[in-house]
């Protein structure tokens, strides 16, 4: 392995990390602005122009708050909970292809931290680990409300993972690969998966909401029943990490949705741009296209949050087990029949 390769990958990883952090930071700002817009308010506008420095001010506030420890015998687990949540939120970005390639310093730089053969399974693996942060933190808080929130988050995650995996199988039957890079390449032009697998997309989207613990599925932090849910006992930056991890996860989910179903970095006429304007221009436009898609999804997630009220817990479980899982199995059968019929 030559050193240029290592430097190239390190730069890609650092840039991806920085972008994830910045996007998560400004998602908190965007959330408040979107909420304000939907409720006919103004939103944060004191810190900086249009309130653009608001995330920094929030971060500073969280850092300077008092570190409160509840009376718990599991102090270590209490600290490790938000750490796990944050780590897993940042780990997922490693396999997402942010663009095809750039031609810099006479090298082809692949805009992806690593392209493993089983990228999609890697994402599932990391996501299923992510709930341990909530579970461990909620349990170690030594508080009934936290525990209830954590148990809800865990059982919700376990239930919706099944439907998510099954909806993915239908997509995989079509693409024939687990590598996100190849899935992106297959969707060149307007050949996006969402047009072939609309049902799979819908199920994946709903499950993504549930895995993110976002409204209408945020039963884990349902404040009318559970005070604050799993992070009731958390304060200062530990609390900040939980909230920040949620926004980082939101960014990553939006990225995965765009890559899997909305063509990733592809945009109509990309091949024409490569032929006429050079590889770099075309691919920078590709990165911009991907980020527009991601921002669209983030806006959609926020829009849903401020439009649809929270489900009841039994409704949530019914939706997961009785509707989404049978629906995704039917989707697999239909996909199988279609593949047999058209190939």
């Amino acid at each position: 392995m030559d050193s240029a390769f290592i430097i190239e990958k390190s730069v890609v990883i650092v840039v991806v990390f920085a972008i994830t952090m910045i996007m998560a930071m400004y998602s908190t700002y965007a959330e408040r602005k979107v909420a304000a817009f939907l409720q006919d308010r103004i939103g944060p506008n004191r810190a900086g122009k249009f309130g653009l420095l608001q995330p920094l001010a929030d971060g500073l506030k969280l850092f300077s708050k008092e570190e409160f420890f509840p009376n718990t015998p599991n102090r270590f687990l209490f600290i490790i909970g938000p750490a796990i949540a944050m780590t897993t939120a940042l780990m997922t970005s490693a396999v997402i292809p942010w663009g095809d390639r750039l031609h810099v310093f006479g090298r082809d730089v692949i805009l992806q931290a690593t392209d493993i053969d089983v990228s999609l399974l890697y994402i599932f693996g990391v996501v299923s680990v992510g709930v341990y942060g909530i579970m461990i933190g909620g349990w170690a808080s030594n508080n009934k409300f936290s525990l209830m929130g954590a148990v809800r988050a865990a059982s919700q995650m376990v239930s919706y993972e099944i439907a998510m995996g099954l909806s993915m199988i239908a997509l995989l039957m079509m693409t024939g690969t687990l590598s996100l890079k190849e899935i992106s390449m297959q969707q060149s032009g307007l050949n996006w998966n969402v047009f072939y697998q609309p049902l799979s997309f819908l199920i994946f989207l709903i499950c993504a909401f549930a895995e993110l613990n976002r409204t209408p599925f945020d039963l884990a932090e349902c404040e009318s029943e559970l005070i604050g849910g799993y992070h009731t006992e958390y304060s200062s930056m530990k609390m900040g990490f939980y909230l920040f991890a949620e926004y980082a996860n939101m960014f990553i989910s939006a990225a995965i949705l765009s890559v899997l179903f909305f063509g990733g970095y592809n945009y109509p006429g990309m091949q024409w741009m490569i032929d006429n304007a050079g590889v770099n221009t075309a691919n920078v436009l590709g990165i911009i296209a991907l980020f527009i898609k991601i921002c669209g999804f983030i806006f959609f997630i926020m829009w849903v949050r401020w439009t649809i009220p929270r489900f009841r817990y039994d409704q949530l479980m019914n939706l997961g087990w009785r509707i989404l899982i049978p629906l995704s199995i039917i989707n697999i059968i239909i996909t199988g029949i279609c593949i047999l019929a058209f190939k």
């Binding site: 053969d117 399974l121 693996g125 299923s128 680990v129 341990y132 579970m135």
Partner: protein, 170 residues
């Protein structure tokens, strides 16, 4: 020592340590957390063989499974009481004997087993890739593969039956 060997020893020590801690920690939730760590380090061993698919499936399956285990621990056990159930000495001796017999069986199996990877070594194919794995599973190992699915189905039906029965008794 090469890096791989150092990583192997580190992982092996970690696996054994967490496995022992799983058994010895008094708190059932701590046990479950150590079990997760143990399974993760086993996934690390798979990665040393370059078996990415196996490692990731291992993490997905077991992290989900242990999450369910933790939920059951919280819901079914009284965590406030920290009293150890006192087991009679004969149970402990019995457990030890069973453990010894099992280890003899396992060691004999591992010594006498003949791996049949020879054919794939020479074929020059990347036998870690999921395409090759799928072909092998559904061609040469089709019958055992289907038997496993029947086994899993039986377990699922059994669970449903058990939970139904409890409802009737109420």
């Amino acid at each position: 020592m090469s890096t791989i060997v150092i990583i192997f020893y580190f992982l092996a020590a970690f696996t054994l340590a967490t496995a022992f801690l799983t058994i010895y920690s008094r708190n059932p939730i701590h046990s479950a957390i150590y079990l997760v760590l143990c399974f993760f380090s086993i996934a690390g061993h798979y990665l040393l063989f370059n078996a990415q698919f196996l490692a990731l499936v291992h993490i997905i399956v077991y992290s989900g499974a242990i999450m369910v285990l933790m939920l059951f621990t919280i819901m079914l056990m009284n965590l406030n009481k920290e009293d150890e159930v006192h087991k009679p000495r004969i149970t402990r001796i019995g457990a030890l004997v069973v453990f010894l017999i099992m280890s003899v069986v396992f060691i004999t199996i591992f010594i006498n087993s003949k791996t049949i990877t020879g054919g794939y070594d020479t074929s020059g194919e990347d036998f870690q890739s999921i395409k090759v794995l799928g072909k092998v599973l559904l061609n040469e190992y089709l019958v055992p593969f289907e038997f496993i699915s029947i086994l899993l189905l039986t377990a699922m039906i059994g669970t449903v039956l058990l939970s139904k029965k409890e409802k009737k008794n109420e």
